[in-house]
Amino acid sequence: MIRLQRFCVGVLLAGWVLAARAACSFPDPATPPADWTQALRQLEISRCAGGREDPSPAVKAVLAKIDAGAKAPNYEPLIDATEFLIVFASGHQGPGKPEPEAWAALRKTLDESAAGLRAAAPGQGQVPMVWIDLSRNPGQAVPVAGTSVQLVPRLACASGNPCPAFWERLDMLRVVRLMDSMSGLLTGSRLDEKLKETIQRDKRWEAYRADGQHQYWWELWANGKRMKPSDCPTAMEDGVRRRTGYCEVPEDQLIILHPDAGLAWIRGAQSKSDLKGAFLLELLGYYRWRWASRTSADMDSRAGVSVAAIYADRAGGGRWGFGPLIHIGDVNFGVTRARGTWSLTINSQLAGRYFDAKQKYLDKLKTGAFGAVETP
C-alpha cells in the first residue's frame, strides 16, 4: 500500500515537473522553431529565462548563490553571484562576438552592481534600478551605461534556420532577470514593511468606523475636515504644497447632532426589558482613544463626553431632558434634568452588563456559592 502511494506521488511529481517544463519551452538548437522572435518573447513574458525552470547551468549556479544570499548575514553570496555574471558577460565580449555594445553596457552595470554591494552597509544593499527598467521594458530601448539597449528586439532570423542572435539575446535576458531577482531579494524586506504598515492602517480605518463612536455622514465629513492640518503629511512638489503618503488614522472625533437609541432607567427594574426606550440626541461632544500600541489597530482607553438632549416617556408624560452624556469604552450613560427632576439614561450595552451581573449575583446567592467561600 505504501509502495503504491509512493508510486502515485512519484507519478504526480513527475507529471508536475514535466508540466512545468512544458510551460517553459526552450528551443532545441537541433530543431529550430518556426518563429525565433516569438520563442524569445515567450521565454521573456513567462519569466522562464533566468527562472527556476531555465535549464542553463549558469542560471542554476547563480540562483543557488542568490538563494544562499537570502540566508547569509552579509552580501558575499550576492557579490559572488554578480561576479559569476561578470565572467559570464565577459565570455560574450571580444573580437567577432555579436552585440558588443549591449554586452559592454551590461558588463559595466554588473561591475557597478558588485561594487555597490561590496560598499553597502548591512541592510542597505541595492543593485542599480536599470536592471528593473530593462526587465520591465524588454521591447523598449532603455538607456544603460551610456548606450541604448533593447533587450528583446525583433530578430532577423529565417524560420527553421539557426539563429545565433536568439541565443545571444537569451543570455542577455538571463542576466537581466537574475539581477532582477537579486533586486527583489534586496528590496523584499521593504515591501514586507510597507505591506505590514498598510494592513495595520487598513485595520485602523476599519476600527475607526466600527469601534469608535459611530458617526453619521455629517459627523464623518466634519471629522474628515479636522484631519487635514494635523494628521496628513505634506511636502513641496513642483512649487506647490501637496499631501504625501497617507494620513494618520485619527485618535479622536467630534460628536455632532448624533441621534441614537437609549434606555431610560426605571427604579426597581428587574431586567433590560423593564427599561423604557428613550431617544437620545448628542448635540456636541468629543470622543477619543489611544491605539493599544504603535503597531496595533486595537482601540484603548476609549472615552468621551457630550451635551445631550434625551426624550423619554416618564411619569407625567414624555419630555426632553438635558445634561452630560458620558462614554466609557462601548457603554454610555447620561444624567439629564427635566422640570427639576434628574434622570438616568443608559445604552443597551450598559443595561445588558448591569442586569447580567445582577442575575449572576442572584444566582450565586440562590446556589449558596458565596457560602462556599472560606474566610480566614
Binding site: Q38, R47, K194, T198, W205, Y216, Y246, L281, Y311
Partner: protein, 361 residues
C-alpha cells in the same frame, strides 16, 4: 507571468465582478484579428487580480442604515413627535437604501469629500496590490493596472500616496503600465495643487515617476470623463520623459455601439483602445501592426448598428450639450445618463453593461 490588476468604477461591485472583463481581455489576446498574438499563445501569459474597494462605501452605508433604524425605533418607543428629530433622521437616511444616487453617485461624493473614506479606499486598494506582489517574492512580477472611472482616480491617488511621503514604496515595485479608462482623476484629485505632479509622470529618468507607461482612454460623449478632463501638460510627453511613455486616445463621437459609452466593456471592445493596451501588456509595440489595428477598427465600425448608433448618439449629444460646470450640474447629467441607459436596456435594445443591474436604479 505578467499580472493584470483590474479596478472597478463606481457602483455595487463584489468579489467576482471582473469575470466578464477577464474573459474579454483573454479573448482579445487570442483574437484572430491579431495573428502574432494568437500564434504565440499569449493569452496564457497573463494572470488577473481583481481589486474590490466598494466594501468600504458599503460598510459605511450599512452602518448608517442600522444606526438610523435604531434611532427611529427609539423615537417611536419614546412616543416622540418632533419635526426636527424626524428631519435629522431623514438626513441620515439620505445615504441608505438603493438607487443610482446612493449606490453610484454617493460613492463619488464620499470619495471626494470625506477624507476618512478617501484614505480607507486608497489603503484598501494598496493592501490588495501589495499583498499580491508579495506572493511572488523574491522576484516581483511585472504588472499592469487597468482602472475604470472612479477606480482611475482612486488608483492614481493610491499610487501617489504609495510612492511619496515617509516610507514610500521602493520604485522597483511600480507598475509597468497604468491604463486609465474613462479617467475622472482631474475631477476628484484631492491631494493639493494640480493633479499632474511630477511624481505621477511616466517613465522618468532616475527612476522617478509612477510607472513606465501611462495610457488614458476617453470617449467624446462619455459624460463622466468629459466633466473635468484629464489633460496632462505637454511635459508628460516631452524629454526627460521617455518617448511613447504617455498614450492618450479619445474615441470619436460616431464610435458608439452602446448607449453606455462609459462602460469598461465598451471601451475595451474598441480596437483604438485595446490595441495600445495589448501592446503595453505584452511589452512589444510591433506585436500588432498598425495595418492590423486599422483593419480591426474598420471591422468594429462595420459592426455598429446604424439605428442604435444614431439614437445613442442623439441621446449622448443632448447630455453633452448640457456641459456641466459644477459638481451639482454634473450629478444631474449623470442621473440623466443613467436613466437613458436603463431605458435603452428596458426597451430590449441593449444589454446592461458594467456590473449595473436594473434593481440598483
Amino acid at each position: 507571468m505578467h499580472q493584470i490588476f483590474l479596478v472597478h468604477g463606481m457602483g455595487e461591485f463584489e468579489a467576482g465582478w471582473s469575470a466578464n472583463i477577464q474573459e474579454q481581455v483573454k479573448g482579445l489576446l487570442a483574437s484572430a484579428d491579431y495573428p502574432d498574438l494568437r500564434a504565440g499563445g499569449w493569452a496564457g501569459n497573463f494572470e488577473f487580480k481583481e481589486i474590490v474597494y466598494n466594501d468600504v462605501f458599503e460598510d459605511w452605508r450599512k452602518q448608517w442604515r442600522t444606526d438610523s433604524a435604531a434611532a427611529r425605533q427609539a423615537i417611536t418607543a419614546a412616543g416622540l413627535n418632533d419635526v426636527a428629530a424626524s428631519r435629522l433622521l431623514q438626513a441620515a437616511d439620505v445615504t441608505t437604501g438603493g438607487g443610482f444616487w446612493r449606490t453610484h453617485v454617493l460613492d463619488v461624493v464620499l470619495y471626494r469629500y470625506f477624507m476618512p473614506v478617501t484614505e480607507a479606499v486608497c489603503t484598501r486598494i494598496e493592501r490588495q496590490i501589495l499583498a499580491h506582489l508579495q506572493s511572488f517574492k523574491p522576484a516581483p512580477p511585472s504588472y499592469t493596472i487597468i482602472a475604470h472611472s472612479l477606480g482611475s482616480a482612486a488608483v492614481y491617488e493610491t499610487l501617489h500616496a504609495m510612492l511619496t511621503g515617509p516610507g514610500g514604496l521602493h520604485p522597483a515595485y511600480r507598475p509597468a503600465n497604468l491604463v486609465m479608462v474613462a479617467n475622472v482623476t482631474a475631477a476628484l484629485w484631492n491631494r493639493g495643487g494640480s493633479c499632474y505632479p511630477s511624481s505621477m509622470r511616466p517613465m522618468l529618468p532616475d527612476h522617478l515617476g509612477s510607472c513606465y507607461h501611462f495610457a488614458d482612454f476617453s470617449h467624446q460623449l462619455d459624460p463622466f470623463s468629459n466633466f473635468r478632463r484629464f489633460m496632462p501638460p505637454a511635459t508628460w510627453s516631452q524629454p526627460p520623459a521617455m518617448p511613447n511613455s504617455y498614450t492618450h486616445v479619445e474615441l470619436p463621437r460616431e464610435d458608439i455601439q452602446h448607449v453606455n459609452v462609459h462602460a469598461l466593456e465598451h471601451y475595451l471592445g474598441h480596437p483604438a483602445v485595446h490595441v495600445p493596451m495589448l501592446r503595453l501588456l505584452t511589452g512589444y509595440d510591433d506585436i500588432i501592426s498598425d495595418a492590423e489595428r486599422d483593419a480591426a477598427v474598420a471591422k468594429w465600425r462595420g459592426a455598429r448598428t446604424p439605428r442604435v448608433s444614431a439614437v445613442a448618439g442623439d441621446i449622448l449629444d443632448s447630455i453633452r450639450a448640457r456641459a456641466a460646470k459644477t459638481f451639482e450640474e454634473e450629478i444631474e447629467v449623470l442621473l440623466d445618463f443613467r436613466s437613458r441607459v436603463l431605458q435603452a436596456a428596458e426597451a430590449g435594445a441593449e444589454p446592461l453593461l458594467d456590473g449595473e443591474t436594473g434593481g440598483a436604479a
